[in-house]
């Protein structure tokens, strides 16, 4: 009997609760705003507790994480270091590219400076031992139209001359090579002279210029260019600037010191002038 009564009671409860729930549903569906004060109240009561428990839980778990991750951090550190190294390397490559870009831009300017000559760019791929580019190899060969005696210039001016051509590469003898003799002239006075290559003097930063006429009015700061009578070098390419002139002991000629305008220690890209000088060997003609 008692059981029956209790069951009846709980069914009553059920109906009441369901009624309340349906009421809530109905109200919130048709008039959502009415219930918001209740919501706010409950939120305001419970939210701080949640916050507290959350911060507590966060604390516990972060402590746990700290403990857990010492090893992980080390591993991660290793990985990150590797990544950093890779990035550094990449950065270096990019920087090098940047520098190269600047150099190439300069070279391009040079090309427009010597516009009357056709030229192709080339890259220095190997050089003789020592810091000076007395002899070096460029990455263009006969395949690319290289021929012996083509002039090689760089951003500063004359570098040298192609003396050997293979299919894929060419060898260049620079004007500072000991065997190099370049017929030159002073841009202002057109006085002829010879620029003697010499690694010895180049160590002191200059090249010797010999056979200057004793009457030539040469002074410090004059620009030296390749002469029009040179048999191999095209006319008018800058070689360097004079920084010292003195009379020879014979008093017949003068000797000058010229500072090459090319930085022979840091050659990387060069331009090869593909126009060969049309020189007629006088000796040959005379032979005939």
């Amino acid at each position: 009997m008692r059981m029956q009564k209790r069951k009846f009671d709980s069914r009553h409860y059920l109906i009441i609760f369901i009624g309340v729930c349906l009421l809530f549903i109905g109200v919130s569906v048709f008039a959502g705003g009415v219930l918001s004060p209740i919501k706010n109240l409950a939120m305001n009561v419970l939210a701080p507790m949640q916050k507290g428990i959350n911060s507590f839980g966060n604390g516990v778990f972060s402590w746990n994480e700290e403990k857990k991750t010492t090893k992980e951090l080390k591993d991660e550190n290793v990985i990150l270091k590797e990544k950093l190294d890779a990035q550094k390397l990449q950065n270096k490559v990019l920087k090098q590219d940047q520098v190269e870009l600047e150099r190439l831009e300069k070279l391009l300017k040079l090309k427009s400076k010597y516009k009357k000559y056709n030229s192709v760019g080339a890259r220095v791929i190997s050089k003789g031992s020592g810091n000076w580019f007395d002899i070096f190899v460029i990455d263009k060969g006969s395949k690319d139209g290289m021929k012996v005696n083509m002039n090689v210039i760089s951003e500063g001016g004359l570098v040298g001359i192609v003396y050997e051509v293979d299919k894929n590469y060419s060898k260049v003898r620079s004007i500072i090579n000991d065997t190099s003799m370049v017929s030159a002239m002073f841009l202002k006075t057109n006085d002829k002279c010879i620029v003697k290559g010499s690694l010895d003097t180049m160590d002191n930063g200059y090249l010797e210029v010999v056979y200057i006429d004793k009457s030539a009015k040469v002074k410090k700061g004059d620009e030296l260019v390749t002469s029009y009578i040179s048999s191999k070098f095209v006319e008018g390419i800058t070689i360097g600037t004079v920084y010292d002139v003195e009379n020879d002991s014979t008093k017949l000629t003068k000797t000058a010191k010229v500072k090459p305008s090319v930085d022979f220690k840091h050659l990387k890209e060069v331009l090869v002038i593909t126009d060969l000088k049309n020189s007629v060997s006088i000796d040959d003609t005379m032979k005939e």
């Binding site: 709980s10 409860y13 609760f17 309340v20 809530f24 919130s28 209740i38 919501k39 939120m43 419970l46």
Partner: protein
Amino acid sequence: MKIKNTIFYVLSVVICFLLQTSVFEFLKLNDVMPNILLILTVSFAIIKGQSVGMGIGFACGLLIDIFSGDVMGQYALLYVIIGFVNGCFHEYFYEDEVLLPIALLVANSFIYSLLIFTFFFVLRGRINLLAYLRVVMIPEAVYTGVLALPIFYVISMINYRMKLSEKRS
């Protein structure tokens, strides 16, 4: 004693709700949270009978509604019904029995997620039952079952103590 009981109910509901919404966010396994409010409702329904089960269920459901639902009362209704149905098993419950409540809790968790699926997913046209079963329902049922044991034990212990002190006084 009624006051004591009421305090007990309110406290357990609030604590379980806080656990559910705060702490168990950290205890997610495979993105599944155990439903302690469900455990609470079912436990009280089994231990105390239908009226208390419904009351607790109503409170829990209302809290869920307030904090997560957009329509007030839907979860409350669901939890009230759960409390009522599980209260029917109160007559078969003895305090040293463990298997019945655990089996009930697992079954409830399963049915609960099935109901949720039916009402919140199928009605919106998402009927991929198998995926939902694999990803949510079964893991949740298992996790709830595992967690149900300690919670049920704690509640029944407190209840037992309160009964004892009631008898003494």
